[in-house]
Symmetry: none
DNA sequence: TATGAATGAGGATTCATTCAT
DNA sequence: CATGAATGAATCCTCATTCAT
């Protein structure tokens, strides 16, 4: 929702602004984020900033949109590349695609984690949309006899999502480390850890 | 680390201060938290505040300490009550004890979630200590033939911890709802969701 | 004093600009008035505005001129239609003409009231010119033996003018209400309110 | 409604602040008034200002209160000194008292005039209260056979009030000049200006 | 002539902390 | 010990005007 002026800027200038915003929103919550720091970092005058964006919230929403694309775009597109993949395969595939190919900056994870706290409507929507996609995959797998029919799909997605964010943010795992752990988690979820016959 | 003066206060006054801090730190991050609001809420003079605490950080660290007790104390104590319980039983038991008996205010969850972001050294320590306790339980269960010997204990704890916080904060589940979901999660982790023979 | 470019605009565009100015100057004093809001309201580019007017003051003076016409034009013209009317009849007639026929927007009154405060030279001139016209009428009525020869003409005009503006602005009287009260005021001024023999 | 801190200040400092506010609110409307100018003029730090007043409105309301006292206090008290005075005598008396004895600064008139425009609820209340006092006096004079029973009391008060403010603000009459004109106005209202038998 | 991007000064307000009483 | 007054830096945001295209 920036002003159209913003989109008429040179790519370089626009990139400076988005970068400055990323850096700021990665390190600070919405309230703490400082327009002053952003413009200083982006090296633009204060007046200009307010020509591009209506206010801090305007920048934030635009930023959320950009970040969310980074996270959900791959999901939406890649999934169709493997029409017969199981839920677990899609999770693995999407994670590998996004992390290995796109080289997501760690600041995105920081910012993403902060968004959880804001519990912004915008973010809730993105999360919901993404969750629904995965739930459908699970239901399909149930129908195909791959996942137990009484498994709670929503809880499954929540387990993976919360572990994923937690691991990448808190443990600051590198890509390889994270993907390795994700495989282990998926395996636990598939097979369980209890010794057979011990329930 | 408050001044000793603080501990000489009447219980009622001290409680007012801690309550005001809880309310503030539940709603705001460290930087956003306002001493002005806290003293107004606790109804103490500004000068007094700085007699009790060196500065905002001093209050914060003390507050973290108090909050963490709320979460870890039960773990440390209760666990010994059931010396033969499995890891899963202890998780369930501790959760039930803490949530049902102690009636933890939702503000604690909010504050707890914020602490994740701060990634404060203090908090990291608390988390580490708690994790270690659980890992030991898992190792014991492996030795007892209850948990598969090649299961990754740390990841197990992380899965449960991240789901737990996520569920209580983001989904704002009530106690019953949360305990119900936790049971499902534990079951998934124990048994897996894959249809047998499908691996 | 706008640029001649302004007068070459289509009537519609010019009207949009004057309307936007009216709305702005009715709600805000000169300093508070925002060119930004005016151009947004008039839907013209900022660059264009500064092509038509030198600056905010330029627009303001032009606007004052337009507004004053609304108020003084009728006076100047209508008076001659009834060459033998008394001062009081002219007052009544002009008020009726202006208010009933021309349907003056309430914004004009708001703007007019604001001008009082500005005490702008421009406005002072308009007021002076109008006052002089009325004083002449009073002097003629004195000569005709209709008004007491020792009545202070200037004060008379001031009484009516101040009541008139006050009533329309502050009490926000509708046209009928205002005309009714004006008649009462004129009657008081003519006849007095003291009970005869009581002086 | 300033903070009690404000009233603990030395008289000199408090006076500096009130003076600075008077000067500012005489020259500028509420919106235009600048806290920056006020504190510079009063020579106090910005932080201090906000310790005394909650915000600009807080200062404004306090200021209105002070100004209104200047105008209405005399009315309320003096009236009772002459229990049998007529409405006209009270008007004259109060005006003389206030203007001659209290030496009201011209800035008060400027500020008072601006308040008219703001049409603030606070001001409306003060005006209403004052109007009611006078209307009662008029009704008493009607009962005493001094004022014509069909005279419209409210309009009478409005005529005098609007002339009074107008004369003092716009014409910037000095005290003597104003009182002289007020007498003329009162006389016109009492006796009328029409030559007898001419209605 | 039409346009809209650039700009920095100025606006109100909040804040954590110090210090004198 | 208790108190609360003092402070200036930092916050977001609006503005009128200029100028290059």
């Amino acid at each position: 929702m920036p002003n159209k002026t913003f989109f008429h800027l040179t790519d370089e200038k626009r990139r400076r602004i988005v970068d400055a915003a990323l850096q700021e929103f990665a390190a600070h919550s919405f309230n703490e984020a400082s327009i002053n720091r952003i413009i200083k970092h982006a090296d633009i005058p204060k007046g200009s900033f307010y020509q591009y964006f209506k206010n801090k919230e305007d920048l934030y929403l635009y930023f959320l949109d950009e970040v969310s694309k980074e996270f959900t775009d791959p999901l939406l597109h890649e999934k169709e590349m493997y029409p017969d993949a199981t839920f677990f395969e899609v999770i693995q595939h999407v994670n590998r695609e996004v992390l290995k190919l796109k080289n997501i900056k760690p600041e995105y994870i920081e910012a993403r984690m902060r968004m959880e706290l804001d519990n912004n409507e915008f973010i809730r929507n993105i999360r919901k949309k993404s969750t629904e996609k995965y739930i459908k995959l699970i239901e399909r797998d149930k129908a195909r006899g791959i996942i137990k029919p009484d498994a709670d799909a929503e809880i499954l997605v929540d387990m993976i999502a919360s572990f994923s964010l937690n691991e990448r943010y808190r443990n600051k795992s590198g890509v390889e480390e994270y993907l390795r752990k994700l495989d282990i988690v998926l395996n636990i979820i598939k097979e369980g850890v209890a010794v057979a016959g011990d329930t």
